[in-house]
Symmetry: C2
Subunit: 134 residues, 2 copies
Amino acid sequence: MIGRLNHIAIAVPDLSAAAAKYRDLLGAHVGQPQALPEHGVTVVFIDTGNTKVELLEPLGEASPIAAFLAKNPSGGMHHICFEVPDILAAAAALTEGGARVLGDGKPKTGAHGKPVLFLHPKDFDGTLIELEEV
Amino acid sequence: MIGRLNHIAIAVPDLSAAAAKYRDLLGAHVGQPQALPEHGVTVVFIDTGNTKVELLEPLGEASPIAAFLAKNPSGGMHHICFEVPDILAAAAALTEGGARVLGDGKPKTGAHGKPVLFLHPKDFDGTLIELEEV
């Protein structure tokens, strides 16, 4: 079912400082910040050639990463995203297998404009997994 | 400096259970467990086509992931690894830039038999970064 690792997302308390470290210290290909108010984050993409690292900073009151940063004030790895060819088929198979899809169980439109869902981290060794249809 | 994302490592309390979930629930390409006693872990590689996920279970008394699992008993994302062309040059540039290389600051032979080093997570937003020379 799962294909490529689309990205790994890292929640950071200060996006410009984090982006500067990846650019200047690690010499990475770091993009410009993009505010995604409908997703409650400002994001910077880092292109590693084979996949992406996404640095996420909370945006607005109801940011989905606010609670994570309250628990981890220095930031940390937040989720990993795998590509799937058919997100409805993936959701059905996972639910039938006993895994929990977060929210109402239905795919939403993700930060890349594609259908996504998130799986309960308790079902996958403390790791929040996003699936994105590509 | 950094190139491809070589892998993301996830520490898990039960490697066979974790591997079975990735294989059976997520339909991933999951390899056989490999014991690496000199690195204190047993590892299962998951090939995502563009990169790898490595599931790590502690092996032996002095496992480098034992403390992490004591703090995170369900498991969790442990580190990410980027490829660099020259690890000594990377270590020198990072140290000069103010980032801390863990241990004595010198590259070691990593789990893939190649020179690696780890950067202090406090310098990179709570994320443990491994650099591997390829």
